[in-house]
Structure formats: C-alpha cells, structure tokens
Symmetry: C2
Amino acid sequence: MIRSVLERVGDKWSVAVVCQLGESTYRFNELRRLVSPITQRMLSATLRGLERDGLVSRTVHPTSPPRVDYALTGRGRSLLVVLRDLAGWAEAHAEEIGSSRAEFDQREA
Amino acid sequence: MIRSVLERVGDKWSVAVVCQLGESTYRFNELRRLVSPITQRMLSATLRGLERDGLVSRTVHPTSPPRVDYALTGRGRSLLVVLRDLAGWAEAHAEEIGSSRAEFDQREA
DNA sequence: CCGCATCCAAAACGATACTG
DNA sequence: CAGTATCGTTTTGGATGCGG
C-alpha cells in the first residue's frame, strides 16, 4: 500500500507537475509548456493519476473554447512540502554526486 | 542534473534498499531476502547504481566463500533522513488516498 | 483549446542458466 | 556466496491523427 503511494511520488513527471502547480493553478497547455518536454499523452496520464489520488483538482469551465484549470488540493500541498525537502537534498548533493559518478565511471573504463 | 538525482530517488528498489540498509549493514543474499521480492538482477543493478552515486559502500572480504558487505555511506544516511519523511507522509496519507482511488474508479465505471 | 485512441519503438523487468 | 549473460515478455513513452 505504502509502496503504491511511493510509486506515484517516484514518478518523475508527477513530481515535476506537483512542484509546478505549487506556484499557481494552470491550464492544460500552460502546464505542457512549463514542465517541458512532457508530451501531451504523459501530461494527460499524469494529471489523471494525480487527480485519482486526490492531489490535484480539475475544474472544467463550460465555455467556448473550453477551459480546464488544474490546482493542488490541500493534500497535494502537504505533499509539496515533503517534495521540496527532497528537491532541496537533491540540489544540495547534486554536485558531489556528479563527481562520484564520474569517478566511478572512470574506474571501470 | 537535479532531475537525474531525483530519478535515482524515484526508483522503487533504490528506496527500499536504502531504507533497509538504514537498519544495519548486510550481505548480498541477506538483502535479497529482506527487500523481497527483488530479483538478483535488480538488486545487483540497484546496488551498483547506489554505489556509483556514493550512497552505499561495498566491502569485499577475500575469504572463501566470498563475502561482500553493503552499508550506507554518510551521504546515504543523509538521504535516509529525507526518505523517512517521505515514507512518513505516504504512511500518513495511505488510507485517504486509497479511498480517493476507490471513489475515482467508481465514478468512471 | 483540451485530450483520447492508435500504432510503434525502446527500455525495464523476470526467469533461467552459468562462472569465479 | 556473489554475481554476470542471455532471452523472452511486459511496460513505457513518443508521434500522429481525430473528436468534443
């Protein structure tokens, strides 16, 4: 069960989308541009998954042309907090991890 | 760059192995049993990835039969802290996410 | 503008067999 | 015991075209 929750969190696009929606609410094609280079298909699938887990809300405005807004729910915002810690860790250690990788690859070449 | 670090974190087996190594140091087949049902192939690949990033150390004892111990490095332990927060969030929200999923799946059936 | 359906290539994964 | 190699299967992801 917990593993199935972590699988969603572990999805690279889900993380990117949640972080982006932390900034503001967006429309479909706005998101598409912002979390580029995500494809339409993946964005669509990602949003449906996040909506299913109650992390993102989807609001359809019955106008013409149609307009759909996506936003973080309360639960989504609580995840965002944890995610930012993780992103912080990644950023803080990115450089030294890069060195480790280079060194490691060197040794076996 | 940061994304490439998050990809490792996002890997379900890497997370499981790091959490397990948080308990103690282990040998290959001990790990295999503990983070089951991981396959030999996946454990091997996961450990190499973690070692490459300097998160796990690999110590070979030249005995017969051979013995190899895996342990978290300091960097690995710093990741463990963040990972535990994440796991805590997942655990805390697992139930309500389960409900959301069931409800969502209901609506479209 | 939003987003689903189809087709196709590429990569991940599991099972099994084999080596030092 | 601790892995590597190979094979076949399943999953994933991108490109494209169509419909509300």
